[in-house]
Amino acid sequence: MMSHLIILPVVLPLAAAVILLLARFGAFTRRLLALIATGALLISCVMLVGKASQGEVLYYALGNWQPPFGIVLVLDRLSALMVTVTAILSMGCVIFACGGDDEKGSNFHGLFQLQLMGINGAFLTGDLFNLFVFFEVLLLASYALLVHGGGRDRIQSAVHYVVLNLAGSALFLIAVGMLYGATGTLNMADMARAVSVMDPERNGLVVAGALMLLVVFGLKAAILPLYFWLPRTYASAPAPVAALFAVMTKVGIYAILRVYSLVFGDQAGTLEALEQPWVWWMALATLVIAAIGVLAARDLRLLVAYLVLVSVGTLLAGLGMHSPQATSALLFYLVHTTLVTGGLFLLADMIGLQRGKVGTRLVKGRTPIHATALGLLFLLGAIAVAGLPPLSGALAKALLLAAADGIQRAWLWPPLLIAGLCALVALSRAGSTLFWRSQESDNTDDQLSGWHWAGTAWLLIASPLLVVLAGPLATYTEAAAAQLNDPSAIIQALLPTEEDAP
Amino acid sequence: MLDTAVVISGALIALSLLLNLFRLTRGPDMPDRILALDTMYVNSIALILLMGLWMNSKTYFEAALLIALLGFISTVAVCKYLLRGDIIE
């Protein structure tokens, strides 16, 4: 079983989904199964982190076909980290969903597991086309989950989301095709090798493919000219789904990180880091526009969605800095922001449930029944997401700011700090409106169950925990960044014969 | 001789396809266009058969078979659509 550990994050949810969808279980059994599956996933992911932190790049050759010919799943520190974050996040979402969201439509848990399968597959795969396939799995599952429970807003935003992503998928195929046409391979490590020995006459083709791929990943990551689908979509999605979506933009960011650090790493000659200027400038622009959006948001969910965008801008800026320190910082930030924004989506839903008709709109409404506890959680989440001490956001942001180098500081610091301030202003306004500026009501219709509390708390507690564990985590991300910075290690691990052969 | 025959036949089929296309664009009514589409399916079968002869390969036989089967179903679907609006009711 140990040797098959790498594939577990993909096949565990798949198997769970098959079981969940095949038989007609009662609600209780479904929930139990979903929780067990997610728990098992979490355990296996933690084991993967343990494995990956030994520093070796491991791979799993599907069908026993060795790279570059077969599809491989690659385990390094980065992918282990990503699947673990996903597992932690999904645990919270599943717990929360058990509070009643899962029964608002059909097959919630099954689809959720499939979504996990897609995300984990995208994180683990070492094959470009397989990445496409998993992107589609996760996208389609996300479409399904997005419309879970119905409602006009959801359908409307789903139309935008789906159409844009379908066009994105088409572009993805074109890009993959270009890269295959130019390099003759699909395995990313092999592609990296091929790029390094390629006839420079083909550079243009590779550049075209790589940049189009960047557009696709940028669309998923929600970078500036391509992010417009995100706020409405996230704001309208069912809470546990929106929370899971917190990791979806990170899939795009991960993909950029993975593909460009590997294929266009230092062995790629003139093509090295060809994405960097684009990512850097667009990230800063994203940051600015998203910060403005944060100020403009008049709905808590929308606010959180724009905060997701801020985090995207921040992460991509980290990517654009293109240094191991920055990568390490961005990974730290990624862990923090994924969990916290996920938790905030859940929390927003809880608040909305308690405020009656007003929902999450930031207008005077009735006091939530559990104002104190909700307020406490909100405070926790707001502090974390705005990047204020003593929670993880502050450390992550400080790490990122410190990682900026030379002239990058002049460009990064002002927008990043001001974005933090905007978040602070917006969140304090939101918080005071939601919890303070409210009328008393005799509402006793408590729609929140223990599941809700547990799920939200699970995610938001992560922030203080990250503060406590900041040292080990930062050590890990530093090592992961170092690993990414040295693509030859992955190439060597996957294609050992290349070096031995004369 | 055979090659010439294949070429001539191919040219005829090509011309047929063009004529079908003409009818397809020209209309004037929907049934005409569908008829043209249906004929295109059938002519495609001929084209595939000719391709098989030309390349001396039986690999394409299934494609012809499928066109025969699926072309029919698609024509039925369109007709049903025009007749009833709802294809499956």
């Binding site: 095949l22 069908g63 499939l114 589609e136 526009i289 700011l401 040292g471 | 499928l66 179903i73």
Partner: protein
Amino acid sequence: MTLLWIPMLTLLGVLVPALTAQRGRPICTLATAALPTLALILTLAQFPAIADGEYPRVALEWMPQLGLDLAFRLDGLSLLFNILILGIGLLILLYAHYYLDKSESHGRFYAYLILFMASMVGIVMADNLLVLWIFWEMTSLSSFLLIGFWSHRSEARKGARMAMTVTGAGGLALLAGFLLLGDIVGSFDMQTVLDSADIILADPRYPLVLVLVLLGAFTKSAQFPFHFWLPHAMAAPTPVSAYLHSATMVKAGIFLMARLHPALAGSELWSALVAVIGITTMVYAAWFALVESDLKGILAFSTVSHLGLITVLLGIGSPMAVLAALFHILNHATFKAALFMCSGIIDHEAGTRDLSRLGKLAKAMPITCLVMSVAGAAMAGFPLFNGFLSKEMFFESTLHTQALGGLSLMLPVLATIGGALSVGYSVRLVHAVFFAEPRHAPPKHPHEPPRLMRAPAELLAALCVAIGLFPALIATWLLAPAVEAVLQAPLEFHLAIWHGFNLPLAMSGAAAAAGITAYVLHRYIRRFIRDFPSRNANLIFEGAVQYISDKAEVITEFFDNGSLQRFMALLIGTALLMGAIGLFQVETLTGPKGNQPLDGVLILGAMLLIFTGIGTAVTHRQRLLSLIMLSVVGLIVSLTFARFSAPDLALTQLSVEVVTMILLMLALFFLPQKTPRESSPSRSLRDVIMCSGLGVVIAALNYAVLTRDTNTISSFFLENSVPGGGGHNAVNVILVDFRGFDTLGEITVLAIAGLAILKLLNRLRLFMPHSDSEGRIWCPDRYPMILTTVSQPVLPLALLVSVFIFLRGHNLPGGGFIAGLITAVGLILIYMARGVDWTQQRLAFPFQPIAILGVGIATLTGFGSWLFGYPFLTSSYDHFHIPLIGDLELATALLFDLGVYLAVVGATLMILANLGKVTTSHRPSKDDSTPIPSGLHRTDISDTANPNPDAKETV
């Protein structure tokens, strides 16, 4: 390690009120006080060591990557502040015990208060810049909570947010400053930073660092021009004002300047910035204090003014000035806290803080009057009170400084004016409240508060007098280590109440005289002021925030206008740009391989494709026509695949194309038949240009790749297809074996699509047109007999063909996917010919399990290889020779393909059949058991709009 306990105990104290809140207020107050008391004792226990000139420190590694250690120190400065924070904090706690109304949640209040206390302790003890920053921002947060404690009041909420925003912004600037500082020094360790003054001062980034750090300090300490938040923070309960806004939080900025004094102060820039801001603040705020009519407002402005005073001293930076600054910190904390407490008592008892409604209270509350008079005298700087001493030292310092170069002479003058105003408002405060005749009657009849509520104020007032009388005895021991910590060197000094007749004394006298005069005349001054339009900082601030968020909304609307067309255009535009950039780097478009010759059929095919492709776009307003064009494109594309040696693709494309057609038509029924003309010509032209652009890029790239030879990995597949995968059809072997994982994903996608569509169709209510687009009523012949009859033999034939296609897939074109589609299409024909009712009765199996089962089988095949110790999806095959029948090849890939087949059949039918069901009594609903009477759907006529759009439907 005991050192660590001081902040930690205080921090733990946050939990105590939460745990004991239920047990009644006395117990809660006592329990809450316990831990800070312990911390205070621990602090004092360290005193001997500190007095010896050393400072204990403790450091735990936290985040070495950032240079962040959990490090605390306790030097003289920290000690001074710790005593202030903890000592006054405890007094405040006692005061709050009586101050808060019975109905108010004291537990919450105490928790906030202790949280704040812990943050302050953290700030003053931090031995790492980042730790300091962390606690710094925590004070902003906790003060937000405290100011907003009376959350039902609008001004409390606004004041809280304003304080939070201003101090938070300062905190961010501070972070930037600290990070730069750390970068210059190479460490965030406090002592390292303090020891590196020469490196810091020499660095070109020094001015930036200084400005950033001072921004932090000034916002916190409410220095001009950031002073405006402090008066509005007075919306907080009085204990909070007394604690945060007089004794502690506002002093954090002062503390910071003192703390970093050794590292940053050694420049003219420092003196200029700090002293000028300080003196401006001092005079400006004092003026406002004089004309303010709210009791707490006066105190707030006076606080700002006194903070300005301390700032000036730190800006001057001479040892004496530093000493004076620290001394005044101590003094100010004592008298200002006492004043606040008294004003709280008055507010509490008289029900108002408006000076015009207060007066003649001396009789009703003599003790309070005494206390307040003592504290007021200290504030005014009258002799024998502690304020006098530090003020004298202040005047002295201003006289001896050259901090402002040629303008240094301005300092004593302005200081005297400030002093005068200070006397003025102090006198006014005491006189107006206790002795003057009130202009309006107070709402309540005041009397003395409970004894213990007065006690803290009494204690503090006593301290004022004590320090004023015996400064050397009481203050020196505390100040000496503090000064040493700030100057990083011991300082010999002697505090005395009498320095003889000198210039500072004269300044004091002048100030006192001028101040009393000012009070006497202040009615006229106020009348004079009234002619100026008053500006409420709150309104300005709120207005600014509102303006910014409105602008933000406009900008956001501008970018994100909710139009998919724009988003798509942006996507296409970006892709075009990116592709074009790559294209420009291709030197020669035509590669070395060049073109293969053309033939007529190819030209014809291309013509057809181009024609119908464009046709699809051109005719999009007539949707059915567009659809038929599309179907021709699909047909020709599959022919193209066949032409270029991809029979598998041709088969797949064909079957998919037909299914897509049916699907689109099924959906089209529920949609308008024609698209209205909406785009303006210019928009259409833009779209055409942009799309053509991307089309050209795609074509060029395609051409460039096609004319080049690439060494691909495909030869491996061709070589290993038979020996490794056991199949002759390399494409199929890739699908089910080499890249079986892709296929697993693919059928998962298909199954998800089925499930997702089921969700979408669930209880969908659509209104079916009763006539076609030309207005013709539908043909009544639902199931034409001839079609019905012919569908009967077609189904078995289709099944047979799909078995055939399935079985040969591994060796010849075909496979599970195509077979599945053929089966599905055969069944769809039955649906079309017979209707849902009829078919549903006869079709025994539900589709969802079939689809899932398919995925399950494929997955199980993957798991199966684990049993033999191989990785997931490892295939195996063998030849069996069976008599009579001959060679039989069995491959696990076939099982996998069976999964594919089932998934495809299940998913396709799930999609199509469920879509078909929408119009029938079998319409999908969540529980699949609530058929809706069919009459309901037929009756609705309208095609234009849903007449009841508000009817929510769940999916």
